[in-house]
Amino acid sequence: MNKLTPSDLEKMHKASKASSDGPKDWIKVGMSSCGIAAGAEDVFNFFIEEVKKRNLQIEIKKCGCAGACYAEPLVEVSVSGLPPVVYGAVNKEVATKILEKHVISKMLVNDCIFEVLG
């Protein structure tokens, strides 16, 4: 790989910032030790499989722990037209609801949101 120069770094910063700020839909699963211990890996794999199966246009991403360890696995969902929210204590059941209600029907899921991160 090419070694970066200071201006490369600047360019890369701008380019990747623009792409990550874009309108793309995504689901982010907290995959630190606390999340994994609470079952995040299963949830993550479930999303990948289901999205493929249902042919949904949404990206499944990983992230670290956001701090609310008591509510792991945490899943943040950002879908155009809805404010991004974080679901806590997500299991396959909640994950299904997220896909069916939130992602497909564009409605937030009751009783699962942890609005704790400001």
Binding site: M1, N2, K3, L4, T5, P6, L9, E10, M12, H13, S16, K17, S19, S20, G30, S32, S33, C34, I36, K61, K62, C63, G64, C65, A66, G67, A68, C69, Y70, A71, L74, E76, G81, L82, P83, V85, G88, A89, K106, M107, L108, V109, N110, D111, C112, I113, F114, E115, V116, L117, G118
Partner: protein, 580 residues
């Protein structure tokens, strides 16, 4: 398509949960106003506000109303939702807010992607350091920021760097201390796992500051995921030329490697850590010479904690002044705490220094899970002390916590309610230190052990009042005569509980009674005849057949057989078994 979302949650713990009821009322009103197609109402599991009655959060406006009544529905819908006006008397005024510097990217970016880190401004600090700042100005900037070591002792970071920079040596080292070992503390693990590049960038900047060309991550082996993520991140940084020769095209070279700690708590102490990296037994050594002058392999070495390093890129990017605005007079910036114990929301909290303990525990973490009153908060792990509820309004900074007989420590914060015994708690912490003492120095090795013997005696109801004096005497010897921080502070949990909860010790000693019903030897389990419905569940569940009787006469627990496992209390559906 909805244009707005209303999140609702009843946060009043003293009554039946009214969330559903309110949700229905609100929904009905919206239907009546024909707004139900534009506004979605959602019940949430946690709304991030506690003990403020019914709480509403309107998105995307982020308006939060609290202590909302059914009667407020009309004006909320009419003025706020319809006309966009904020209703002043309902607005929730947050007492405490998290302030995220260290955790700025945690939970946001993919820790395995350097691109995402760069997208968030990553490595721009390093670019600034190499390009415009240079060594001297960098250290000046860190000095202005006022940041102090986050590992516990709070030594000014710039001074460490400056000492090491001033020593002439062909070889210097930087080490990231990621040997986080306090029970209940995992801030560093989270940062390493969630934002590894911020720590790497911090370490590169530290290396540049002192002129080091080699550095180590000393990570405990019990953190395999952190090791894996740092490993990946290091590889990415090498690939991008952010490590290795001529970093970002400059003349600065640095190589970083991982060293695994074998799980000894004392290896978090910097001289012991150095011994461990050198392949020797991890025991502390006298200072001076300080590592900044004579450290790893006898060369000037700067050792910084993970959290300190994660702050560095932010300080460099935003300037020392920016950082110095946050926090208190002597303690700048933020601190990450791992709040655990009897708390509702256990997890990581990053607050500006100066926030009070009460704000952290009550407002951010939602108080106790049980709803019972808080008895005390323990900070600083085994080196810290307990702070009683009455003092929770103390603003958190290095000096204040020390005045209270605790320490900032690395950031473990354990919340205790009335079910926690103040003889049992120090027993746990001291037991930890006794186990983890490297064994080198007599006051720590034997003093801690003897003190634990007294604590055990007291918790078994065999203590005497003189034992408290002996414990104080031991504490003084350990504090003053131990070589390293472990021994010097190991008695803190005991000393602070003696300071604030001596009556509880006396209760154990004089009345052979544990008020929290925690010390097993002093606890008796009794079946309360009036509450017992004679279902017999306790009998079948008792593992030692200590419960006898029948449906006619009722049941009795034989104290000589009972092993106080608590199984009967757990299974009893009628709360008929008392534990006193």
């Amino acid at each position: 398509m909805y244009t707005k979302v209303i999140l609702v949650k009843d946060t009043d713990l003293k009554r039946e949960d009214k969330t559903r009821e309110f949700y229905t009322h609100l929904l009905d009103y919206l239907r009546g106003s024909n707004l139900h197609a534009q506004i979605q109402v959602v019940r949430v599991a946690d709304i991030g506000v506690y003990d403020e009655g019914l709480v509403l959060k309107i998105l995307p406006d982020k308006i939060v109303y609290c202590n909302v009544q059914d009667s407020d529905i009309k004006r909320i819908v009419d003025s706020t939702l319809d006309q966009g006006k904020v209703i002043g008397d309902l607005v929730f005024k947050p007492k405490a807010k998290q302030h995220r510097i260290v955790l700025r990217n945690c939970g946001k970016i993919n820790p395995e992607s350097i691109e995402e880190y760069i997208a968030c401004g990553g490595y721009l600090g390093l670019k600034k350091v190499l390009g415009e700042l240079g060594q001297q100005k960098l250290i000046e900037e860190i000095k202005i920021s006022g940041i102090r070591g986050r590992g516990g002792a709070g030594y000014p970071t710039w001074m460490k760097w400056n000492f090491a920079r001033e020593v002439e040596s062909a070889e210097k080292f930087v080490i990231c201390n990621a040997d986080e070992g306090d029970p209940g503390a995992y801030m560093d693990r989270s940062v390493l796992e969630g934002d590894p590049h911020s720590v790497i960038e911090g370490l590169i900047i530290a290396a540049f500051a002192i002129g080091a060309s080699k550095g180590y991550f000393y990570i405990r082996a019990e953190y395999p995921l952190a090791v894996e993520r740092i490993n990946k991140a290091l590889k990415q940084a090498y690939d991008y030329g952010l490590l290795g020769q001529n970093i970002l095209g400059s003349s600065f070279n640095l190589n970083l490697e991982i060293r695994l700690g074998a799980g000894a708590f004392v290896c978090g102490e910097e001289t012991a850590l150095i011994s461990s990296i050198e392949g020797k037994r991890g025991t502390p050594h006298p200072r001076p010479p300080y590592p900044s002058v004579k450290g790893l392999w006898g060369k000037p070495t700067v050792i910084n904690n993970v959290e300190t390093l994660a702050n560095i890129p932010a300080i460099v990017s935003n300037g020392g002044k920016w950082f110095a605005q946050i926090g208190t007079l002597t303690s700048k910036g933020t601190k990450v705490f791992a709040v655990t114990g009897k708390v509702k929301n256990s997890g990581l909290v990053e607050i500006a220094m100066g926030a009070t303990l009460r704000e952290i525990v009550m407002d951010i973490c939602g108080g106790t899970l049980s709803g019972k009153p808080i008895k005390a908060v323990q900070t600083g792990g085994p080196s810290g002390g307990v702070i009683p509820e009455a003092l929770l309004d103390t603003p958190v900074d290095y000096e204040n916590l020390q005045k209270l007989g605790s320490i900032m420590g690395s950031g473990g914060m354990i919340v205790m309610d009335e079910d926690d015994c103040m003889v049992d708690i120090p027993k746990f912490y001291l037991g930890f230190c006794v186990e983890e003492s490297c064994g080198k120095c007599a006051p720590c090795r034997i003093g801690g052990f003897q003190m634990l013997v007294y604590l055990n005696k007291i918790s078994e109801g065999k203590g005497k009042l003189e034992d408290l004096e002996q414990m104080r005497r031991l504490a003084q010897a350990m504090q003053k005569a131990s070589l390293c921080g472990l021994g010097q502070t190991a008695s803190n949990p005991v000393v602070s509980t003696l300071r604030y909860f001596e009556t509880e010790y006396n209760e154990h000693i004089l009345n052979k009674h544990c008020p929290a019903a925690k010390c097993n030897s002093l606890v008796t389990y009794t079946i309360m005849g009036d509450k017992c419905k004679r279902c017999g569940l306790c009998v079948t569940n008792c593992p030692v057949q200590a419960i006898s009787g029948d449906k006619e006469k009722g049941y009795l627990i034989a104290p000589e057989k009972c092993v106080k496992c608590g199984r009967c209390v757990d299974v009893c559906k009628f709360k008929a078994i008392s534990k006193k």
